[in-house]
């Protein structure tokens, strides 16, 4: 049984088909990359799964259980966490408090939530900044904090919406290492990413959306040579580059 299953998920905004008939599944332990041009409906799909949008039609199943149209907090409780494309840290709270808010989901007592949060801050390398206000962090650390906060809810499935956008090469490297470490801890990961150099070596499988539709679902190697994907998203330059390798 797949961990996450989408069947014919469609999301319509007035006349716009943001997602159309998307069917895909994510297996336990996978790292799945979700790519596609701007406006392809990647974030909309995230929102349909995590409860921020209700799909117009279609079914979302998690661990075999239908969760279509559940509210975001219920989705989180069932074991799916997410980060946001535009960071949404709790600005006037400290780094530790941010992560504690996440940890409270599984640890209702403040001292337990605190212990869990400190553990995660250690793991994500934010421990030295635990008393800083979240608004004073750099963009890279804000993204890291969002990830830490999501991890504190102890998810089985983690959605990362452009977790590496806007990071410099060394910060990106750290983020990639982090994703690998999470994967080793049995957390299944779906990431939206624009940086091909990041996605290709990291993902076990790549799913491509274009104009709301799923146009490819394959291994990174085969995606890189898929005619339709090159045409829709990667572009001719990418074909040339992959040939020269």
């Amino acid at each position: 049984m797949a961990l996450l299953e989408l069947k014919g998920v469609t999301k319509q905004f007035g006349g716009l088909m943001a997602n159309y008939d998307v069917t895909l599944s994510v297996e336990e332990g996978e790292i799945v990359g979700l790519i596609g041009p701007n406006g392809a409906g990647k974030t909309t799909l995230f929102n349909c799964i995590t409860g921020y949008y209700k799909p117009t039609s279609g079914v979302v199943r998690f661990q075999g259980r239908e969760i279509t149209g559940w509210s975001p907090d219920r989705v989180c409780k069932t074991g799916i966490a997410r980060t946001f494309q535009i960071v949404r840290v709790l600005k006037e709270m400290t780094v530790l408090e941010n992560v504690m808010v996440g940890a409270f989901l599984r640890h209702p007592q403040a001292k337990d939530a605190r212990r869990k949060a400190l553990e995660i801050l250690e793991f994500t390398g934010l421990a030295p900044r635990q008393d800083q206000l979240a608004r004073n962090l750099t963009i890279a650390n804000k993204k890291r904090l969002e990830l830490a906060r999501a991890l504190a809810t102890e998810p089985r499935l983690l959605f990362l919406d452009e977790a590496m956008a806007g990071l410099n090469p060394s910060e990106t490297n750290d983020a990639v290492t982090m994703v690998r470490k999470l994967s080793e801890q049995q957390i299944t990961i779906v990431l939206v990413e624009h940086v091909m150099k990041v996605i290709m070596p990291l993902a076990h499988r790549v799913v491509v959306l274009d104009s709301g539709q799923l146009i490819a679902d394959d291994t990174p190697e085969r995606i890189a040579t898929n005619e339709r994907v090159i045409e829709a998203y990667l572009g001719e330059k990418y074909r040339a580059a992959s040939r020269s390798h």
């Binding site: 921020y52 709790l90 006037e92 209702p108 403040a110």
Partner: protein, 338 residues
């Protein structure tokens, strides 16, 4: 905020001062002013649960104040039920009404919630003005009970009984705030204030927690409503369901600093004496002048210091800490050179 060495002794001194106050200052005007300061501190703390921690600005809290006042007064005048029991009944009524108002209006974001609460407040004022069973626009006089017994919730020879009751309520509200800040609910409310969508992604049922905050806020406000009724011994829609009360509750908390324990108390300590003195000294010649002062205060706070007086204090402490650190490093540098 970390507690510094002098904070705990200062707090103890303040508590002792508050307990000794009625014996140190025996003039009725001072005692009355102090009772009002404490009463508005409790109201500010009550408003703060919803408006400060959860960030849902309400201008309709007179609803709960009025419900507290009317419930205990009606039960006492009609059925002879003790105002102490009436106070609990009033809190229960306020909590139920808060859920009825909160459930639909928490779907509204930001300013629209504030507008909805103003509308709800006016609806209650109109209902009570026209509700003959509870005295209509005339209101209800509470029959005087002599003897100054605590059980009667009435004191005539001296105001000291009222003073200690409201002081106990302040203690309860302060302890509740202190506990909330260290508890899951407090963290969740702050998260909702900072970013409701992020809060949802962390498993927080935003509407439910806003309703918890409003229920807590309503219960404390209603309890003070009963206190006010027993203190003044006369209530009417124009005094207890007034928009003025809603605004002053918000203002006390905002002036002092929302989302903090000390803020609403400081706010009341600054605002209430000012209101009382302007009322007494200028009341005859320039009625309503204190309202002009309120308006100016709101403008000044929102332009220069949205964090209130507490934020000014925090900034001063940060500077002070930085200055001391600088001194230490300077001294170390000087030591090395020498």
């Amino acid at each position: 905020m970390r507690t510094s060495r002098w904070q705990i002794p200062a707090l103890l001194a303040l508590i002792l001062f508050l307990i000794a106050f009625p014996y140190l200052f025996t003039q009725p005007f001072l005692q009355r002013t102090m009772i009002l300061i404490i009463m508005w501190s409790v109201l500010g703390l009550a408003w703060n649960f919803l408006g400060g921690y959860a960030g849902q600005v309400s201008f309709g809290h007179a609803i709960f104040f009025g419900l507290g006042a009317y419930t205990s007064t009606y039960l006492f005048t009609e059925y002879g039920i003790s105002p102490w029991l009436g106070m609990i009944a009033g809190a229960v009524v306020a909590v139920i009404v808060s859920a009825i108002i909160g459930w639909p209006s928490f779907r509204l974001a930001g300013h629209y919630f504030a507008i909805a609460t103003i509308a709800a407040g006016e609806i209650f004022a109109i209902i009570f003005r026209n509700w003959k069973t509870v005295g209509g626009a005339v209101g209800i006089y509470i029959p005087i009970v002599r003897g100054d017994k605590l059980i009667d919730f009435q004191f005539h020879d001296s105001k000291i009984g009222y003073y200690y009751i409201i002081l106990a309520m302040l203690g309860l509200a302060a302890l509740t705030t202190y506990a909330l800040e260290r508890n899951r609910i407090g963290y969740y409310l702050k998260a909702i204030r900072e970013d409701p969508d992020a809060a949802r992604s962390l498993g927080i049922n935003v509407t439910l927690y806003k309703m918890y905050a409003m229920a807590l806020s309503a219960a404390f406000t209603a309890i003070v409503g009963t206190f006010y009724a027993q203190f003044v011994l006369y209530i009417s829609p124009n005094t207890v369901f007034a928009l003025n009360i809603s605004i002053q509750m918000a203002l006390v908390a905002i002036l002092g600093g929302t989302g903090t324990l000390a803020g609403p108390i400081i706010g009341a300590a600054v605002l209430i004496p000012m209101a009382e003195y302007t009322r007494v000294y200028l009341g005859g010649r320039a009625g309503g002048l204190h309202l002009v002062v309120y308006g100016l205060l709101i403008m000044i706070i929102s332009v220069y210091q949205p964090g209130g007086l507490m934020a000014i204090y925090k900034q001063w402490r940060q500077k002070e800490t930085a200055r001391k650190m600088q001194q230490v490093t300077d001294a170390a540098a000087a030591g090395k050179e020498g």
